[in-house]
Amino acid sequence: MAKITKEERKNGIISAALALFSQQGFYVTTIPDIAQKVGMSVGNFYNYFSSKEILAKELILYISDYLGKNLREINMKEITTEEKIQEIVSMYFKMASDKPEMIEYFLRVYLSNREVFGSDCAGMICVSSFVTEMMIFFEEGVAKGDLHNQDFFSAFGLFMGYLGGMVFLFGEALLPEPLKEYEESISLNIYNALKHRD
């Protein structure tokens, strides 16, 4: 059997912690819980992360980088702003369906327990790679004449708040249809709300 590398072991901890934190919450989950789920000793766990808070911070950076990388690929495509909106919505909903623990962690742990993340994650620092790509998307949309020029947070809140709300409803099992069924109508709603006005 091939030897598990340190990197693979670290990713294993991240996956296990994401699942536990998003299901049980940050405070209830203990380091022994995580170590047990990965199949390692508590002592060995500390070779990877020196505290639960540091692991929590690593997780939000991991999620932000994952989202940022996917958004960047969409931003680089030679497609219309309207098509980009469709791709972003589709990517976000796919992530919520396939890796619900990532969005759950973001909504239920990161946004709900800001005190855990402290000054190291002040403002947008820990979600910078994701927010930066959204800035690029909006800036280019306005520069191309496709989107209405307005305050960044007004547009950002409309876009991400809408998606976050839908994923929340999905997580609570309140949506009658799978998330994918809503992609087209939600993309159109977002585009209509943000598009350039004559």
Partner: protein, 301 residues
């Protein structure tokens, strides 16, 4: 014809379509008298010269260094002689030609008077399309609206000393135009921490985010070679207008063009992604010392 120290080089200052701004700026040169003493001034519109304008436009003389101020309009006349006759006559034998100011360099402010025929000596805005393009190697562009008198003085001194003047891709001396107006700005700490100024004329705060400052995108040594040896636009709380670049003149000088609150143009050579990442992080922190009037900081403690 070569510059030599035995006889003074002959300097001719011609004007195209101009507001006289560069002539006036030159009069503020601290060492004007000493510098002029090294040349024979054939003609200057404001200074005592060897010849009158009518003698110059009779096209009987020649010069070693030709300075041309203003936009080139071939039909524009001096003493009823069109520029299309005066300029080529003197340019043909001049050892060095200085396009003085943004108008002479790129067309500038007066380009729009007759955009189909007006231009700088070499460039029409950023494209080669001026009347002296065949003499490009002899032409030095000194852009600016107006040109800093020290930039012209430095260039003339370099020519006198027979120094090779290394130029950038817009034919401007690298010595003077390789740095940005941002370099040496006393507000750099505010730029680093993304602290906006609260108004014009204040000592504190950066003018880049809201007040339209173009210093991080403008090749000019305004903040390292100070105006009147003491000041610059940004030092008195006014944004840099980017007047040394071919894109000058623009509009809305006192406003930063933003798309969804994000600056449309970011510092030269920096990707928008990199800029937004760093700016976003810097904005997160609140530096108490940079938030108020500096002289009052901790005054009561």
């Amino acid at each position: 014809m070569h510059l030599n120290t035995e006889t003074k080089p002959k300097l001719l200052w011609l004007q195209g379509v101009t507001c006289n701004g560069n002539s006036h700026s030159f009069l503020n040169l601290e060492s004007l008298e000493q510098l002029l003493d090294k040349f024979e001034l054939l003609y200057h519109p404001l200074l005592a010269s060897t010849f009158s304008l009518s003698e110059i436009t009779s096209l009987q003389n020649s010069c070693d260094i030709l300075i041309f101020e203003g936009t080139y309009d071939p039909e524009f006349t001096r003493n009823n002689i069109p520029l299309k006759e005066i300029l080529p006559y003197y340019a043909l034998h001049a050892e060095h030609i200085i396009a003085l100011g943004t108008c002479a360099s790129f067309g500038g402010m007066f380009q729009s008077l007759a955009p189909e025929r007006n231009s700088g000596l070499l460039y029409k805005v950023e494209e080669e399309g001026g009347p002296l393009i065949a003499y490009k190697k002899r032409v030095i562009n000194l852009s600016g609206c107006p040109v800093h008198p020290e930039w012209l003085a430095t260039t003339l001194q370099m020519l006198l000393a027979k120094h090779t003047i290394v130029v950038d891709d817009l034919q401007r001396p690298r010595e003077l135009y390789s740095s940005l107006a941002h370099h040496g700005c006393t507000r750099n700490e505010y730029f680093e921490w993304k602290v906006d100024t609260k108004g014009f004329g204040l000592k504190e705060g950066c003018l880049f985010y809201e007040q339209g400052c173009r210093a991080p995108l403008t090749h000019a040594s305004c903040n390292t070679i100070l105006w009147n040896e003491v000041s610059s636009k940004t030092r008195v709380g006014t944004p840099c207008f980017g007047c040394t670049e071919p894109s000058f003149p623009r509009t809305n000088y006192f406003q930063t063009k933003t798309n969804m609150s994000i600056p449309q143009d970011v510092p030269l050579g920096v990707s928008k992604r990199a800029y937004l990442t760093v700016a976003g992080m810097a904005k997160t922190f609140h530096i108490k010392r940079l938030e108020g009037v500096l002289i009052d900081y901790k005054r009561d403690h």
